[in-house]
Symmetry: C3
Subunit: 169 residues, 3 copies
């Protein structure tokens, strides 16, 4: 009790908790970074070579590439004169060393006249990397929940990995 091995084991557990809370903070930061038009802060959430692979028509044929691409989205959203909101819902997190995956729902809102309309409700998979001690997004996949097999597989695959990791751990 309290020996060097016990201490090291407890420290590892604390580090995993810190990782999980840092990852919660990372995915929670996405929406405010875009909706706030916080260009530099939005970019810092992603790796230099990131890819936001979204099937949203506004994301173009192949999604958004690179930190500069993400910063461009934040700049554009910051200049909109109508209300837009990007919501990230409670995620399922799997940490594996310096890599992590996150799955969960997202939805958007758009203000039209005096009302907010629900935009895209989607399944998401985030692949994260720890870079210089900070978690960043390398790849985010976003699929409209329209009943397609692809949109469901994002959730089913992510949950299987999370439960497998939990059993091994």
């Amino acid at each position: 009790m309290g020996g060097a091995d016990d201490f090291a084991a407890l420290e590892r557990r604390v580090r995993e908790l810190e990782d999980r809370l840092a990852i919660l903070q990372l995915v929670a930061s996405y929406g405010p970074s875009i909706d706030g038009g916080a260009v530099a802060e939005a970019g810092q959430l992603w790796t230099e070579d990131c890819w936001y692979d979204s099937d949203a028509p506004s994301a173009g044929a192949d999604g958004v590439h690179g930190r500069a691409g993400i910063e461009g989205v934040a700049k554009m959203c910051g200049e909109l004169d109508f209300g837009l909101a990007h919501i990230t819902h409670l995620p399922v997190i799997t940490v594996d060393g310096d890599h992590a995956t996150v799955v969960g729902h997202s939805n958007t809102y758009q203000k039209v006249g005096d009302e907010f309309h629900t935009g895209r409700v989607a399944s998401n998979r985030w692949e994260l990397e720890r870079v210089d001690g900070n978690w960043q997004v390398r790849l985010r996949t976003n699929r409209l929940l329209d009943g397609s097999a692809a949109s469901k597989a994002v959730f089913a695959d992510g949950l299987r990995e999370a439960q497998d990791a939990s059993t091994e751990g």
Copy 2:
């Protein structure tokens, strides 16, 4: 400082943090398990003898009983050819040894044509048990937020318990 008693006390605090994050992960997993049609993974979130006590018409007169019942819901949702989403919002968690209660909002979305409609917005109480080291749902109560006393009591009772536990702790 750093004696066996101090170490044991710190380890207990770490274990409670681990419990809270495991419980967040559990309730965050519900929606993806159903919307992803992840049958076996959905079942693993619940105890064998669980009860999902919902007043949703689709849940029948008495809700959904047993792990097999939950797996049936996941299977059915996985086969739908239209979009459906089950969202669990940020929860209030009270841990008491191998039992825990969670209260919070939920809502559903359904894709109708090109739009997502908000379905049920509800209050929820989850009663959890630690089984073989893993947190599982034994009972979830779900009440439509229609102004009824029952739907409000889910929140008021849960918050009172959470604040009482925090004062005792």
Copy 3:
């Protein structure tokens, strides 16, 4: 390894994790306290001299002042005979000793006939204080996401502070 200094450093890390989870619990409690009409429990989430600075018409010209004001909102909502829901989304948390700031989205739902309508979708900044060991809300700013500079600044300012604190930490 395992010396008094190492132990104290690990304990500080555990305390910060506890703070972050307590803050998550605090902001998660707001909606259930109001929608459940839990008058006393709602009041305990806020400081005596708090201010809920909201631009919602229902909040009056200057928002809601003091714990008694918040309790009045919970009492009024508890007596409504129609459905109303206050949702707090995944927040970005910055802890600085006995103070903390939180930014994130919120939205409301109101039941109209058989349907739930989305009400206000807003940006929020919460300024928290630790009072007698418990985190409480001293100031919450809530701005409708209507494209205004003020509503975006809530997010942009909050994210900048969060990333600055993370770099210094």
